[in-house]
Every structure is written in C-alpha cells, then in structure tokens.
C-alpha cells in the first residue's frame, strides 16, 4: 500500500456557491443543503483552492501571504473537504518507462 497524501489535489467543489462578505465567506453546499461560514483565515485557504492544488501548494501560498500556521492551513483544507465544499483527486503521475538498454 502506498501513501498518496502528497499526490492529493484539492479544488473548490463544482456546485458550491460562495459569497465573500468583507473578510468572511459564506458557502452554500447544494448537495448537503447546508450553509457554511468561513472566517478570515479560512477564506484565504478557500481562495487558494480555485484551481487544483496539493495541500502543500496551498500551504505555501497561504502561509507566505498571511503568516498562518501550515498545520492549520492543512487542517482547514481537510475540513473543507470533509464538509463537501472542496473536492479531491489523486494526481496521476506519469512514470517514465524504465530505461531499457538494448544489450543484444
């Protein structure tokens, strides 16, 4: 079994409807029919998820611009995924075929 944590990518889920009000964000999840509210820190994480990105990449982006703690950012990404407003995929890595030296 391999750990695919570093190959997971996250993105705002299709269908999630978000509106920013000052530094907070309200998100409507139509699948769960639930309204969620993000504080200022979570809003920064949310906005870093507008395209597919690994948790590491989101951490880099958010911690660089805000000074938030990396573990908090990572936790926030997972929480957004848990409540269904962020989707996740495992990045497919193209492995180059092993070098085959012709030794005829």
């Amino acid at each position: 079994m391999t750990d695919d944590t570093n190959m997971r990518e996250y993105r705002i889920a299709r269908g999630a409807f978000a509106l920013r009000l000052d530094d907070e964000t309200l998100i409507w999840n139509p699948d769960a029919e639930a309204l969620h509210r993000l504080n200022a820190s979570a809003t920064l994480v949310w906005e870093a998820l507008d395209t597919w990105a690994t948790a590491d990449a989101v951490c880099d982006q958010v911690t660089r611009s805000s000074g938030l703690d990396a573990s908090d950012v990572r936790h926030c990404v997972e929480e957004l995924y848990e409540i269904g407003v962020v989707e996740r995929r495992v990045r497919l890595v193209d492995h180059a075929p092993p070098c085959s030296s012709a030794s005829n």
Binding site: F17, L19, L21, L26, W28
Partner: protein, 276 residues
Amino acid sequence: MTELQCLDLTVKITARPTRLGDELAALYRGCERRDGDTPATSEIELQVDECDAIFSLSVGGAACDTFDCVRDLFLRASLEIDRQCVAASTGSHLLLHASCVARGSRAALVVGPSSAGKSTLAAALTLAGLDYVGDEVIGLRAGTPYAFGYPKPFKLDGRARHALANAFGRADLCIDSHDREDLVAPGALGSARAAGTCTTPALVVRPAFANGAPIGIEKLTRADVAESLADQCFNFASWGGEGLRIVANVARRCEGVRLRFGDIATAVATIDKMLS
C-alpha cells in the same frame, strides 16, 4: 366576504354569520386585496353554530378544525393564512421568519428564532410611532432592495401585552392571563403600511430578551447578518445560491446588531435612534 392579499396569496374569507368575517377583517385591515379581477387562490371559511357555540374553520372547502371560542378560531385562521402565504409565495420570494417596521424610508428587520421577542418588539416599535410592515413572514425578492410584508394582526401573549402596557401607559392592552395568546389589530397600536408596500431594510436586529438585563448592543458583521437571515428563512434550501445572493445583498446595505435588552422601552428607543 373579505379578500386578503398576503404576498402572493390571495385568500377569500367567508363567514357565517358575517360578523365573524367582519371581526377578522378588522384584524387584517391593511391586507385587503386591491386587485380583485382574478379569483382568489385560496378560500377560508369561518362558521359558528350559535346553539352549541362551536366555531369551525374550513380551508378550501374541507373542514379543518373546531374551537370553543372565537379567539382560538382567529388564532388558527391566522396561522393558516401564514402557512398558505408561505406555500403560495415560496417561488417568488425568499421568505424570512421576521418582523419589519419602518421609519420613513428606512426599515428594520427583526430576526430571530421563535420566542426571541420579535412580535413584542415590533408591536412596541409600532406603539412608539414607527410604521408596522409585517410579522412572521417577510418576503425578499431577487434584484430588488425591498422587503415585502402584510400587516397581519400581532399575536401577543398576556406577558407581552403587560410589558407593552407598562412601557407605553396602555392599560387597555393588559389581559388577565399571562400565557393566553391573542390577536391584536395593528391599528390599535399605531400605523401600518398596506400589504405589498415596498420597504427598504436599513437595519437588521437580532433581539435577545433577558429579564432585568441592561441594554447591550453588539455590532454584527455582514456575514453575521447574512447568516442570521439565511437561518431564519422558511425556504432558503429551495433558493440555494440565489438565496445566498439575496441575503448577502441585504447584509451589504444594512447595519446589523445583536440587541440584548431587559426593558422594552429602552430597546425601542435604541432601535428608533439607529433608524433615524
């Protein structure tokens, strides 16, 4: 026969004897239907068996309930009108469980869960000279800054009436029982805007009554306001993202406060000042 307009609901009230209908119509003055060209969408019938003093309510021709006093009949009829209003207006309005009063061009939406004191506060503000817009069901529409209500009678219990009587020197509002609920015509307290009048919210108040507590005002963020409105919608789920856009637009235009109070007169003065 009376016809009422409550947002998109048009309801025909028939009564035997007619005095019952007249009494209910007096409570709903301001909600009279102005455009009577099309048939009413709903029908409510009030009836009394004079011999047995049994009051009965029918909705759409089907017997609904019986009561032993006219007060309970009217309370139930009022609840039925609200219920049908929500059903008839859900596709056209985002429907808030709120009260609304206005001073000039600025209105206050009072939102909160049941028993938060919305009706009492709206009644008090009406007694203080603000215009009553509506209670229980307030409609918001996409693309407009307006709130829509209908000046239905206030449903107040004896405790609320006692507090209003004390605060405004209106001994006539007192009734003997603290727990008994009753309908009070808006006209008995002050002025009301006719059903369907456009009113622009400028203030959102979340009341929290605590007996004897000093006045406490906590400013709400725009997200607080939008979330409070969404929480108190009858039909937010069916509007989804569009509903969120509507409440966010109200939140962007309004000031929002959580108002803790133990004295209704002080709460009224505070809200009135914020609206002025």
